[in-house]
Each structure stands twice: as structure tokens, then as C-alpha cells.
Amino acid sequence: MLLDHRYVAIPETLSEVLAALQARPDARVIAGGTELMPDLLAGRKHPTGFVSLRKVGALRGVRRDGPALVVGAATPIVDLLDLPEAPALAAAAASLGTPQVRNQATAGGNVMSALPFRNLLPALVALDAEVELASADGTRRVPYRDFTLAPGATRLADGEVLAALRVPVVDGFQSYVKVGRRNAQFVAVSSAALVVDDRARALRIGLGNAARIPVRAPAAEAFAAAHADWEARTLAADAAAEAARLAAADADPPDDPIASAAYRRHATGVLVRRLLERAFDV
């Protein structure tokens, strides 16, 4: 329905989405609307049309594909709350917005916002996720860590649409933590996700608001992995503290009216230490 309207297309298949985008190069892709509608209301954005993903069943839902979970771009956040195969992603989803917003907002919308404080992004970085980008020429996969270029800017090309996230299933401890001004419906001042890979005896840390885009903390990861006792599952307290210091030292956080860069740098270290203390006996 409404496929031919000049300003609003409501396609039902991925190929209809791509055709609708081709016919309206200036249109914005919209799914839940939680990212775009407030900007419209406030007059910050004036899209000259929309291509809606709300009716595209193929872009909705979570399925297992071999070693990975495939999360359709239009999957609502509420469908990520119970994901035993990706606990870091589930934890990040659980503190996103309000129950109403979690029914509307989508995984793909969170990624396409490309803002470093959005909940899912540190988890996707730590999980070494990939994004699946569809176009008339087919589908390509890009590592998520390379996808975001700057706040609000990604490698999505003209005519492409984010179709899915591929999230590797990893055995080991995972979690996501954030700090903000209160306990409910707050935007993260700083956030962090930890994914421990028991088989590889490695760990990955994703950070939110530690830079202009979601980033890893490679120095902290390497230090913690090298100093952990993987048999006993322990990490000495001073090693956890040093890993946290390395993560904070490497951070280049935004400075804005919500928090100063200095506070965010400190919070980044605290969050990393907190995650390590949960993953290992310290």
C-alpha cells in the first residue's frame, strides 16, 4: 500500500524498500520513528519524504544463522530483552528508553543514529558484530567497528539500507553498564560493554561516549586478558584497576552540557573496572 505516494512509501518487502529509495533519493528511512519524529517536531529536520520499514516482515525478528544471531534492522528493542545467546545486547536493550519506546524503537534505528551514547552500540562493538547492508546490487557485510564515521554519519551508501545486524554467539561472561543522572529513562553519560571469549581466552570492551563514536579499548583488553588467570577465573584487583586506567587514558570523550570530558573519562574507568569485577573473581 501507499507505494506510489511521492512522500511516504510503506513497502512490504526488501526489494520494494530499495525501489522506493531509488524513486525518492532524498527520503529518510523510518522504522519506529523514535529517532526521527522528535527532530521533526522540534524543526531540526525536514525530511522530504519517508520510506517506512514498519511493514517489512523480512527485516523484523531474531534468528540463529550458524555461529551468529541475525537481528533484522526493524526488530523492536523489546524483542532483544530475552537473548540468552547475546547477554550484552540484551542488557543494553533492557535499559533503553521506556517500555513504550522499547515497543517502537528498533535495533537498526539505534545503529543508524550513530550517536555514541545510544545503548546498543557499545555492546555491538564488544560483540564484534557486523552490519548487513542491502542495495540493488546485493548485500555486503561491514564490521560494525568500521561502520560509524562520526556522530550521525555511517558508511551506508546512497541507495543502501541497513538490513540486519550479525552478532557472533560467544561463550563467556557478557554485560553492559551505564551511568547517568537517574535510574530510569536516562541517556547514558558513559557506557561500557564487556564480552569475554572463554575459548579464545580473550576479552573485548566496547565503550559509549568515550569518543565521538563507539570504540573498543584495546590496551585495557590486552592488559586484562594477559593478567587474568583463565583456569581459576580470577583477575587481581590491581590488574583490574590498571586495565580501567588504560581504558580511561585512551578515552577522548565528548564534552557537553550533560557531562564534562573529565567526568566521562573517570566514569569510563569506573565502568570498565566494574565489568571486570563481575566477569572475574577479583
Binding site: T34, P38, L41, A42, T98, P99
Partner: protein
């Protein structure tokens, strides 16, 4: 008429309503209130924090201010006015809000009742703690929440006593 406007049908509170010449960018809240005269859902914050515009979309609470109206054309939308029986009788939850004086200015009430109705379906026998833990998508700036929580808890207790 400019093609920046479009017309479509919406399913609202069990009836098919025709929307004529809405702007292509109108939210569901704007269309409900300004085109259809459905004024139960309220305009509060406009970005999904306050929950005053909460409606059920295919049975799930959503903020009408965040939904592009044209994309809701195939969905079943339920506002506070559509929760009761066709004879306009109050639901037990609506009656409990009256009984417990859970309404002061009343602006948050329709959103609270819609969200709480679905919450009680999902959490039969909910305790006060459950209510406070889960219903944070609706803000009230008058009551301090106590009477709202009391009203919802009373319904939860009554319904689970009736079931049990």
C-alpha cells in the same frame, strides 16, 4: 490539494476512521487529536519520555507522538476511550483511578490507564514494587504517584483474588 497531503483509513477504538488530507509527516498523535477529534491521548513532551500520548498499537503500548501516522494504517489503535465496554461503562482500572483519587490535573491519566491496562495483562498479581519498577514510561507531575500506584495495585489484587 498538494501531494504533501495524503488520505487513508485508521482503525481507532474498533471503528474505521477516514483521515483526509493529513500532512505526510504528521504523527499519529496529531492525526488522532486534530483530524479525528480523538482527544484521549495528550501531547506532552513530544519525544517519548512522558507517556501522556500512550495508545495501544496492535495491543502494545506505544507513544503516538513518535509514530508516523500514515504507517499505522494497518494497525489496530486503542485509546483510553476504547478500553471499556461499548456501553461506555468504566473499566475496573478506570473506576479505581476515580475511587483512589488518582487524578489531579488529569493530563497523564489517559496514558497511565492505557499503559497500566497492558501492564496488568502481562503481570497479573503485580505488587506495588512491580508497578513502580515497570511503569516508568508515564510521568505525573501532580500526584507524587502514590495514589496512581494504589489504584493500579488495588486492581491487581482484586483481579488476582477473582482468578484465584
Amino acid at each position: 490539494m498538494s501531494d504533501e497531503r495524503l488520505s487513508y483509513d485508521l482503525r481507532v477504538d474498533g471503528a474505521t476512521r477516514h483521515v483526509a488530507d493529513a500532512w505526510y509527516f504528521d504523527s499519529l498523535l496529531t492525526v488522532l487529536r486534530e483530524h479525528l477529534g480523538v482527544t484521549g491521548p495528550k501531547h506532552g513532551c513530544g519525544h517519548g519520555r512522558c507517556g501522556a500520548c500512550t495508545v495501544l498499537v496492535d495491543g502494545e503500548p506505544q507513544c503516538a507522538c513518535l509514530l508516523l501516522a500514515a504507517t499505522a494504517a494497518d494497525s489496530e489503535i486503542t485509546t483510553v476511550a476504547g478500553l471499556g465496554a461499548p456501553d461506555d461503562a468504566l473499566t475496573d482500572l478506570q473506576a479505581a483511578f476515580v475511587e483512589h483519587n488518582a487524578v489531579q490535573c488529569g493530563y497523564c491519566t489517559p496514558g497511565f490507564i492505557v499503559a497500566a491496562e497492558r501492564f496488568l495483562e502481562e503481570h497479573p498479581g503485580a505488587t506495588e514494587d512491580d508497578i513502580r519498577r515497570h511503569l516508568y514510561g508515564n510521568l505525573c507531575r501532580c500526584t507524587g504517584y502514590t495514589k496512581i500506584v494504589d489504584a493500579i495495585a488495588a486492581v491487581a489484587a482484586r483481579r488476582s483474588a477473582a482468578d484465584g
